[in-house]
């Protein structure tokens, strides 16, 4: 059931040919994708829609954008959101200081000449959103921790993400000649607006299956013994089933595996686990609870 290209306008060459192609090429850059991740990335490319990624910290939301950029041989443009990020940080800003210098340098010019000159490209400071839609080279736009930004910024994003154009009053409307691949990440600390969600494909990245996590550990910590990697993943899996304040994420699993490698441990034993629990768990009461469940005496 093949169909013609779905995206009519703003044609960018498709990055991927199939879901398997996504998995294989992401894996080549060192990102092992679950079927859900691969399918959604494939669809985001096919339908030309932004991808909204949610999930706990440390499961590789940002890494996904970086991996896609590497696969597509594209430039990664990153907008890090924080409380109080505004138009001048996200979109563009006029370089006031430079404009003032220009005005005082050209003293005997008429005002009209000066005006057309100081509102030209030379004095425009492009910020990530504008950078991402200008130029013909392929780009991946990463809007990181979207939930940290204020609601007003979401309104700004709506315009940019649905039409891929930005209006600068002095210059006119700038429309993307090549649509970037957009990834938004969120830790769900604030509910994003329904309007923004509607424009995106939604992807929840959870903790990986045991098998996949084992492969991730083996890939990221190549020196680790295979049996030990299996045990590491099993212990972490058991901790995720416990009722902890902060359960260990993939990033912590990798840290733990690296620690064990550095310590030269070749099997998991009570002493090793007890001494290194702090790498996995970041709260003292979590450490105590996990130690009790795993039958090791915590210090």
């Amino acid at each position: 059931m093949s169909s013609g290209p779905i995206r009519a306008e703003l044609e960018a060459p498709l990055l991927f040919t199939s879901v398997d192609d996504v998995s294989a090429r992401l894996a080549a850059t060192g990102y092992l994708a679950s079927p859900a991740v691969a399918t959604t990335v494939f669809l985001a490319d096919r339908l030309g829609k932004p991808l909204l990624v949610e999930g706990p910290a440390g499961v590789g939301k940002t890494e996904l954008a970086k991996a896609v950029a590497e696969v597509a041989d594209a430039r990664l443009v990153r907008l890090q959101c924080y409380e109080g990020v505004d138009e001048s940080r996200a979109l563009y800003e006029w370089n006031h200081a430079k404009q003032l210098l220009r005005i005082s340098a050209g003293r005997d010019e008429t005002w009209d000449e000066t005006r057309t000159d100081i509102f030209s490209e030379e004095f425009l400071l492009t910020r990530p959103l504008l950078t991402a839609i200008r130029g013909d080279d392929p780009k991946v736009l990463l809007i990181d921790e979207t939930d940290k930004a204020d609601v007003e910024v979401e309104g700004l994003l709506l315009e940019v993400l649905s039409d891929f154009q930005v209006t600068v009053p002095e210059l006119g409307t700038i429309t993307a000649t090549r649509r970037p691949f957009v990834v938004l990440t969120s830790n769900a600390s604030r509910e994003l607006s329904e309007a923004l969600r509607r424009r995106c494909l939604f992807l929840h990245i959870g903790f990986p299956e045991e098998e996949l996590e084992r492969r991730i550990v083996r890939l990221k910590v190549p020196g680790l013994d295979e049996a030990l990697a299996g045990s590491v993943v099993r212990v972490v899996g058991a901790m995720r089933a416990m009722d902890l304040r902060k359960v260990p994420s993939v990033a912590e699993t990798i840290d733990w595996a690296r620690t064990l490698l550095a310590l030269g441990a070749d099997t998991l034993g009570e002493t090793v686990v007890r001494d290194t629990l702090g790498v996995l768990l970041k709260h003292q009461d979590d450490v105590l609870k996990a130690a009790a469940k795993l039958d090791v005496d915590a210090v």
Partner: protein, 451 residues
């Protein structure tokens, strides 16, 4: 673009999801159809992920989506081809699959099990498939010891991680039970109206579960939503506080900001006001009938504690005691909260049923000084007094002294005043709100909490 039957099936899937309160627009449905066209129908799991990506907007919706998807895009039709297996043989093969952790094999065995042991009724119209009956006959939970030996025999002892084996096997058995439930629902759907089944037989998202009718598992699931909900509310309160700030201009910061515009102050910066931290008092009915509700609310308010200068929590059945220390941040283990409160606080006098009149009277008398002009009081309970005096005087007394008093009632509005409920009487004195599920509670708390 898509096969004719698929479009129809897709729209009825969307219809079923909408019936569960998800807001899915036509645009998303079109996207979903495009996803189907791009992915094809060959791989069911890809299709599932593709539809989830285009139709869903949040993580909690997934647990409704999966069973509904299983109904509209079933794995197969009819029973398995194999002969009905006998029970011992099936148990043997199941324990092998559990030992290997082979999910695909477990799924096939679930289909065989439902086919062999789940059917009931013989006459057309009354027959059906029951996951309960299947599991009752098969008893997968008794396989634990056998699976453990099986695993040990296969890979020997793997040292430290071995102590996790029992829990891992239990989780696999739990997976198998879920597979049986999915399979039974699929078989039923072949006989009955699929749309009807999707509406009724699929559990709704946890934030829409009624507090009063929530089972133990659902309450546990609800508790896990406390932290994210609290975080969301905290940011919302902080934003409200920020917006509420107005007043005199902060000259130093305005001039500092004007440097980027060549010394012209284009954006005035206002002086930040010191946030006034309001105080909060919670009165919670923890008698059996409403304990799920008050547990949840207590945890939520405690999780919000850094938004307030002082939070004090009182629990009552027919006597009242302060339980603030039991809710201490970090030390609280939400599972045992209700039990701990009942064990450590004096909540009952001569009998065990709730008495609002006596408890509220005791509050006004013993802890009257907890309430001042900066205090907002929340009363949580169903206002069922077991026919005793509602003691309106003390409530009026508290209401006069406090800044605001709100009453959150977990019963539907229509039941207020029926039987022994004194809700209408109390509602005349204080503002009473219906609060039946986590969604309503979240909305109410966001609206009512003082800034």
């Amino acid at each position: 673009m898509t096969a004719p039957g698929v479009a129809e099936r897709l729209t009825s899937l969307v219809g079923a999801l909408r019936a569960h309160g998800m807001r899915i627009g036509t645009g998303e449905t079109v996207d979903a159809a495009q996803a189907v066209a791009a992915l094809g129908l060959a791989d069911r799991e890809l299709l599932r992920e593709g539809l989830a990506a285009t139709l869903l907007h949040g993580t909690v919706q997934r647990q409704v989506f999966d069973p509904v998807f299983d109904l509209y895009f079933p794995r197969g039709v009819g029973g398995p081809e194999t002969e009905p297996a006998d029970r011992e043989d099936l148990r043997e093969r199941l324990s092998a699959a559990l030992a290997a952790g082979d999910v695909v094999m477990m799924g096939q065995l679930a289909a065989e099990a439902v086919d062999g042991f789940g059917g009931y009724g013989t006459s057309p119209g009354s027959e059906g498939w029951s996951s309960h009956q299947t599991l009752d006959r098969l008893r997968p939970q008794t396989l634990l010891a056998r699976v453990r030996e099986n695993v040990r025999a296969r890979n020997g002892s793997s040292g430290f991680a071995d102590r996790l084996l029992d829990d891992e096997i239990r989780r696999r058995i739990e997976t198998f039970r879920r597979q049986v439930a999915v399979e039974a629902r699929r078989r039923i759907a072949e006989q009955r109206d699929r749309d009807e089944l999707a509406r009724r037989a699929v559990a709704t998202t946890p934030d829409r579960v009624d507090f009063l009718y929530a089972g133990k598992l659902q309450l546990a699931e609800l508790r896990r939503t406390v932290q994210p909900l609290a975080r969301k509310l905290a940011t919302r309160l902080a934003a409200r506080r920020r917006r509420a700030s107005r007043g005199s201009i902060d000259l130093r910061r305005t001039l500092r900001g004007s440097l980027s515009t060549g010394g012209v102050p284009m954006k005035p910066v206002l002086r930040r006001r010191r946030p006034m931290r309001p105080e909060l008092v919670l009165l919670c009915d923890v008698s059996g009938s409403v304990s799920g509700f008050s547990d949840f609310t207590m945890l939520l308010v405690q999780a919000l504690h850094d938004q307030f200068s002082k939070v004090r929590v009182f629990a009552f059945v027919n006597r009242l005691d302060e339980v603030t220390r039991l809710l201490d941040h970090g030390a609280a283990d939400p599972e045992g909260l209700g039990a701990r409160i009942r064990a450590e606080a004096t909540l009952t006098g001569w009998h065990g049923s709730s008495d609002y009149g006596v408890a509220l009277g005791e509050f006004a008398e013993r802890y009257g000084d907890a309430v001042g002009p900066r205090t907002t009081v929340f009363v949580l309970g169903d206002a069922r007094t077991n026919m005793s005096d509602p003691n309106l005087t003390s409530v009026r007394q508290v209401a006069e002294r406090a800044r605001r008093v709100y009453w959150l009632n977990p019963e539907p509005h229509a039941q207020w005043g029926t039987g022994d409920s004194a809700a209408p009487e109390y509602a005349e004195l204080v503002e009473m709100h219906e609060c039946r599920n986590a969604r309503q509670l979240g909305a109410l708390v966001a609206r009512l909490l003082p800034v």
